[in-house]
C-alpha cells in the first residue's frame, strides 16, 4: 500500500495513534486497498453496554487510558439508556458499565450525541469521505447526499476516528458505486410501506447497487426505506432517481443486469395484533416526525392514549420542542426519550412491555433478535388510532 510521508511519520511514533494506524493499514492491505483516504467525520457505533458487553467496555477504557484521542469530528450512536432521565430504567450494574463507556468515549474526544441520525445535524456534501458505523446513517448519506462511507464495523470506526483514515475500498471507489439492478416502485409510499420497499430492494439486490425509481415520499418514509434496505442488504447504497444529486451521472454510466417492479399490492401490512406499546424513532425521529404525532393527537382533541407511545430522538430535536408540548405529550402517555432506543436498551422489557407495534421495519427485524421483544409493523396513524 502507498503511504504518504505524513502517514509514515505517524507510524514511526509508537504512540496510541501510531498503533491504530498500523491496524488500519493492515486491514487496508488485506482488503486490497492501494492507499488510505482522509475522512471528514467518523460516527462510532457499538456503544451500548447491551451490545458490546464487558469486552467492549474494557477495550474502550484501555484505549482511552493508553492516550488514544480522536483526530476527526466523531459522533456516537445511541447507547443503552438515557444519560439523565427516568424513562429508560436499567439495573445498577448496567448503568455503571454504560457510564464507563460514555466516559471513555468523551475522554477520547467524541461528540457524545448518542443518535443514529447524525445526518440530520451535520453536513455531508457529495463526494466527501466519512467513516461511519451505523447502517441506516451510512445508507442515508450515500444514497441521499452521494457522500461516501462504507459500512464499517464499530471497533473499526474507533480506529478511523483516532487516525482520521480509512482504506480506499468498496463504496469509497467510484467504480463500485455503479448501479447493477433497477427497481421501479408503483403506488403511494407510506412510512411502513417504505420499510417494506427497503426490504424488497435489499433482498433483490444483494451486494449489487440498485437504481430505484420511486414516487415522492416524506422524509420519515425515506429514512425508513433506507434503514430497512441497509438491514437487509450488505450494501448501504442505492441511487434514487431525482434524489441523489448525481443520479443523472449514475443513470448514464450504469449497466443494469436485472430489474424488479414493486406494486402497491406488495406493500400491504399484516394485521396488527395485541400490543403493549407503540414505538417510533428508528432511525431517531426528526422534528417533523415528532410534530406529526403531536398533530395527530391535536386533530383528535388531545386524548390520553390507552397504551404508551415511545418516541426515540436526539437531544437536538428534543431541545427544539417547547416545554409546553413536551408536558402535553407526557400527559397523553407519549414519552419522548433521547440518547437511546429500544433495540440497544433493555428498557421496554424492564418496564414490562413485550409486544411492540412500530412503523419501523428495522425495529421489527432487530427487536426479537437483540432484545427478545415481539415486534409488529403498523402505520403510525393507525396504531395511534387503536389507542384512543
Amino acid at each position: 500500500m502507498h503511504l504518504t510521508r505524513e502517514e509514515e511519520e505517524v507510524l514511526s511514533r509508537g504512540d496510541a495513534r501510531s498503533r491504530a494506524l498500523e491496524t488500519v493499514v493492515k486491514v487496508g492491505e488485506s482488503l486490497g486497498a492501494s492507499r488510505l483516504l482522509d475522512v471528514e467525520t467518523a460516527h462510532v457505533s457499538g456503544v451500548s453496554y447491551q451490545t458490546i458487553g464487558d469486552a467492549g467496555v474494557e477495550f474502550l477504557s484501555d484505549l482511552a487510558a493508553s492516550g488514544a484521542r480522536f483526530k476527526v469530528f466523531a459522533t456516537v450512536n445511541p447507547m443503552g439508556m438515557e444519560l439523565d432521565g427516568g424513562e429508560t430504567p436499567v439495573d445498577d450494574l448496567f448503568k455503571s458499565r454504560q457510564l464507563e463507556v460514555v466516559k471513555s468515549l468523551i475522554k477520547m474526544g467524541a461528540s457524545a450525541w448518542f443518535t443514529c441520525a447524525p445526518y440530520d445535524i451535520i453536513r455531508t456534501p457529495p463526494g466527501t469521505v466519512h467513516a461511519w458505523g451505523e447502517s441506516n446513517a451510512i445508507s442515508y448519506i450515500n444514497s441521499v447526499r452521494d457522500a461516501m462511507s462504507e459500512k464499517l464495523p464499530g471497533p473499526f470506526t474507533i480506529l478511523a476516528a483516532i487516525t482520521g483514515k480509512v482504506p480506499e475500498f468498496g463504496l469509497y471507489l467510484h467504480e463500485n458505486r455503479m448501479p447493477r439492478v433497477m427497481v421501479k416502485v408503483n403506488g403511494r409510499i407510506t412510512q411502513a410501506a417504505a420499510g417494506i420497499i427497503g426490504k424488497m430492494v435489499g433482498e433483490f439486490s444483494g451486494s449489487r447497487v440498485p437504481y430505484v425509481v420511486v414516487g415522492p415520499m416524506t422524509e420519515r418514509a425515506m429514512k425508513a426505506m433506507l434503514a430497512s434496505f441497509a438491514t437487509y442488504s450488505p450494501n448501504p447504497f442505492m441511487v434514487i432517481e431525482g434524489v441523489n444529486p448525481n443520479w443523472r451521472l449514475y443513470r448514464s454510466e450504469m449497466d443494469v443486469e436485472e430489474s424488479l417492479v414493486i406494486d402497491e399490492k406488495d406493500l400491504r401490512l399484516p394485521e396488527t395484533r395485541d400490543f403493549d406499546a407503540v414505538f417510533i424513532g428508528c432511525p431517531h425521529a426528526d422534528l417533523d416526525e415528532v410534530l406529526h404525532v403531536a398533530k395527530l393527537l391535536e386533530d383528535r382533541g388531545y386524548p390520553r392514549l390507552a397504551k404508551p407511545l415511545f418516541i426515540s430522538t436526539s437531544r437536538f430535536v428534543k431541545s427544539q420542542l417547547s416545554p409546553a408540548i413536551l408536558s402535553r405529550l407526557d400527559e397523553l402517555n407519549v414519552h419522548v426519550i433521547t440518547d437511546t432506543c429500544p433495540i440497544v436498551s433493555p428498557f421496554l422489557r424492564n418496564r414490562g412491555l413485550l409486544n411492540i407495534a412500530t412503523p419501523s421495519s428495522k425495529s421489527v427485524y432487530y427487536m426479537p433478535r437483540l432484545v427478545s421483544l415481539n415486534a409488529m409493523p403498523c402505520e403510525i396513524d393507525e396504531c395511534i388510532g387503536d389507542l384512543l
Binding site: T23, K26, V27, S30, L31, S45, G46, T51, I52, G53, D54, A55, G56, E58, F59, D62, G133, P153, G154, P155, F156, L159
Partner: protein, 133 residues
C-alpha cells in the same frame, strides 16, 4: 500435507496443537474472552495457546472486542486458520494481534483436535503432522 492460504496477519512460523470447529462460530456468544473457551455443542474447548481452525465466523460487530479480551487475559489462540474470513474477524485479528491465515481449502477442517500443526505465516502455508508427508 501442506495446505496453502493467505496470511492476513502475523510473521514467522508457529507450531501448536489444533482445536477444530467444524461449524461456523460467532465470537459473541460462542467464545468466552476471559476464560479462552469456545462452545462446541454441549462441551467447551480451550483455545488458549492452541491453533484454532474454523470454516468461518458469523459476523457480530463485537467480535473484535472478544478477540482483544482473549489476548488481554492471556488466553488467545496461537493462530486462527479459516476457510473464509469476514471483515470483522480480519479486523479483530489485526486489532488484537492474533495471527490469521484464511482462504485455506476445506480439508483444513479434517484436522483432529490435538493434532500438531505448523503454520508458516510468511508463506501462508499450513503443514500437518508437523512435517511434509
Amino acid at each position: 500435507m501442506t495446505l496453502r492460504g493467505r496470511t492476513i496477519y502475523g510473521k514467522g512460523v508457529i507450531a501448536g496443537k489444533a482445536v477444530v470447529m467444524r461449524t461456523p462460530i460467532s465470537f459473541l456468544g460462542d467464545v468466552d474472552g476471559r476464560r479462552g473457551t469456545v462452545k462446541a455443542g454441549y462441551e467447551e474447548k480451550s483455545i488458549g495457546g492452541r491453533v484454532l481452525i474454523l470454516p468461518f465466523s458469523r459476523g457480530s460487530t463485537v467480535g473484535p472486542y472478544i478477540m482483544y479480551q482473549l489476548v488481554k487475559y492471556g488466553n488467545a489462540p496461537l493462530a486462527i486458520l479459516s476457510v473464509k474470513a469476514d471483515t470483522l474477524v480480519l479486523i479483530g485479528a489485526v486489532m488484537a494481534g492474533i495471527p490469521l491465515v484464511t482462504d485455506l481449502p476445506d480439508s483444513v477442517l479434517g484436522v483432529s483436535d490435538g493434532e500438531e500443526v505448523v503454520v508458516d505465516l510468511d508463506g501462508g502455508e499450513v503443514r500437518l503432522g508437523g512435517q511434509d508427508r
